[in-house]
Point group: C2
């Protein structure tokens, strides 16, 4: 579990480098130099001679930027796959379960399971919003991931604040503990317009005005319930309510964005907000398809998110890539929308832009942080490879990721996670899951 | 590479058996006995004592029926991911490439790559239709897979017959060579109504009347082009044209079935045809969502297919399961349609029904053929498991399959394919892929 040392050099050689820079430069026989936390040089052909450098022969495997999961609820991993195929699950199951079981310990255990899965599947940056978020921040920091961790604010008697004053106090605590952390960025996360309300959204906007570098995360235009709330309560769209509150700014990361009309998209574009689309979560909910193509054509950065494991099941991005592309093609009635190359950009550099981290991560370029993954090409399902982006979107799977580096530190090496103890993480999660199962049965019998 | 010997007994113990029988019986601490090619007994708790039996401790892993890929073009694996994101690809790329490159050798090489991938990912039965189909049959037999192999008939100057007479001769040859093979069932495969024509479809129906046990495979209601052809040429739906030809029978496996109205579904139901849905291929084409829920509610067996790798990219079924469920939920606007348990049935016993093989395979029951897979539960993304069907549909991946048995023979054991040489198979495929790439460039320059 060594941290990168100043002056330590690593040279990856014999790699198929997908840089995801502006020109989408590829180096078929590439090398990449890491000094400490940073990519210092990269290119094709013979690598430079650096005395004392550790040389890693990548055997022709793909080396590319780590993926950016722009919307997650890591703590919910222990709820993975619970209460499937039921429409009224938020009020029937999720909120009661959360009120009863969400403690700092549960958040720690769930987030550790999530961190393990994220690293296994090649995610190097995650944007999270949940409760007891300092616990999440600690897990993310310990796992070595890059993260944006958002303390949630909501009015439905959530597990960690009885009032918005308490909620804001949690935000302040998170910001003061992690404000200068090299990998973890604190964030404020009003749950959604309907579950926060205009006044509190205004308070968040005022707070955000004083803390312009702190990202704001919010679910936006996710459901008919929310759209109806906005129309009935404010006589306008939920996006317009959010604009009136002063929240539509470049530091706002809007998750879902399913139920938008063209006026909403124009409004979002004028205010340069960022979007996190969650195709598997939305598809499973049967709620419709996000207009990703329109949002991108309006100039908005659209990253890809997994949502929580109770909604989207898995947290890697490989399982999201084909749905992103298929949904856009189904909406457009053609093969042309969202070609594979754009989907890979969304999973990397565009996700980084959506989180305002694109100067640090999301592409392999000299001067950027060394956040990268190695993808093994051993599986027959990956061949032939006419286009590596098509292969990544439609054939690769999280199990193909053998190595993960964040800020120069190996989080996974030769197939083995370095920063967490998988057996302990899984054992803790199983124990908690057992308690949930008992509770679910009580709920189904009309209790608890 | 040993074949099952009469009298040889294998006992799988400590398995989480998902039998997929009518009652969806599970044995959490299960055992299963294989004698020769056949499952002879299974249950929970202490396994029976059988002298001389080979005992395999499954370590709590899932053991379930092998998956049934009900629509594939194995030979096209060497075209995987070629010409993505282009609408006019059939006439611009596929047909010219096929005319120039599809030879018995190419079909053998492509089918071997497909067989390797199918085994790796847990498919035990595949329904194929392509050209030079005796080559496919030989590869399927050698790989040890169970297969329905269909000689294609088409009017667009296909690579292996200049006339339908020649095409029928190929069908006859296939039927006589493989008519009594224990694993490989020959089949006749008119390409689609628009590419076969009413007269030839009637000829197929007459032939089929004489060979009632030979399955007929056909693309049906796949595109607007086809639907328009039927309206313009015959003044009715493409399903009605197929009925008029006498092809709507229980031995007809209809692939795709995207563009159907309620009258078509009623017609298909009255004639008890079978359906193979191909969600990833259809989603990528942007052509719409098949009405799987309606077809199943009309009593039709609906299996899942991958289509060829040029359309659907991967041939395992794991990557199809989430799309099957999501598409039905999106069509229905609710979480309720096609719950995970039904999707797993579609991938196994219902796929077997669609191929009329359900007395032999598709579930773990005494007396059935031993066609089964072991799914490792080591990956953190699979946990917790509240419902194994949800886990299989939304979290498992082909890489989780460690063992594959067909008719008592191990095709994959402890992660290693037993019946093919992966390195040779991949090397041969790479060589052919190189030639295609050159040709594609010629086509793009206006040639060849």
């Amino acid at each position: 579990m060594h941290h990168p040392r100043a002056g330590m050099t690593t040279l990856l050689t014999n790699a198929w480098l997908l840089t995801i820079d502006d020109a989408m430069t590829q180096h078929a026989n590439g090398w990449l130099q890491i000094d400490g936390t940073t990519i210092t040089a990269l290119g094709s052909g013979a690598p430079p001679t650096v005395s004392g450098a550790e040389l890693i022969d990548c055997g022709g495997d793909i080396v590319m930027p780590g993926m950016i999961n722009t919307h997650c609820h890591m703590g919910m991993s222990v709820f993975r796959g619970l209460a499937e195929d039921i429409d009224d699950r938020l009020y029937r199951y999720i909120l009661p379960l959360e009120r009863k079981f969400v403690t700092p310990e549960m958040v720690r255990i769930g987030s550790a399971l999530a961190a393990l899965e994220l690293i296994e599947g090649g995610v190097t940056t995650v944007a999270d919003m949940y409760y007891f978020e300092t616990e999440v921040a600690n897990v993310v920091a310990q796992a070595g991931l890059r993260g944006i961790v958002g303390q949630t604010l909501a009015d439905f008697d959530p597990p960690d604040h009885k009032s918005f004053d308490e909620g804001f106090a949690r935000v302040e605590q998170l910001a003061s503990e992690f404000g200068t952390h090299p990998l973890v960025t604190p964030s404020i996360a009003p749950h959604a317009p309907y579950s926060t309300g205009l006044k509190v959204m205004e308070r968040v906007a005022d707070w955000s005005h004083v803390h312009p570098d702190i990202p704001v995360q919010m679910h936006l235009a996710e459901s008919a319930l929310e759209v109806n709330w906005a129309r009935e309560t404010h006589g306008k769209s939920t996006v317009a309510v959010t604009r009136d509150a002063g929240l539509l700014k470049p530091n706002l990361i809007c998750a879902h964005c399913l139920q938008l009309d063209d006026a909403d998209i124009t409004m979002m574009s004028e205010h340069q907000v960022c979007v996190a689309t969650n195709p598997r979560s939305n598809g499973k909910a049967g709620r419709g398809i996000a207009p990703v193509d329109k949002l991108r054509n309006a100039g908005l950065p659209v990253g890809i998110g997994s949502d929580g494991a109770m909604s989207g099941n898995t947290l890697d991005l490989f399982s999201q890539l084909a749905p992103v592309s298929m949904f856009a093609k189904l909406l457009g009635g053609s093969r042309k929308p969202l070609p594979a190359i754009d989907v890979v950009r969304m999973a990397t550099i565009e996700g980084a832009r959506a989180l305002s981290l694109n100067l640090k991560t999301g592409s392999l370029e000299a001067g950027k942080q060394a956040d990268l993954i190695r993808v093994s090409l051993v599986a027959p399902r990956l061949h032939p490879i006419y286009d590596p982006y098509s292969m990544l979107v439609f054939a690769a799977s999280p199990s193909d990721v053998t190595d993960v580096i964040v800020a120069g530190r190996w989080l996974k090496r030769d197939g083995t996670v370095q920063t967490l103890e998988p057996k302990k993480v899984l054992r803790d999660a199983m124990q908690i899951a057992h308690a949930f199962q008992t509770e679910m049965k009580l709920i189904d019998r009309g209790g608890p």
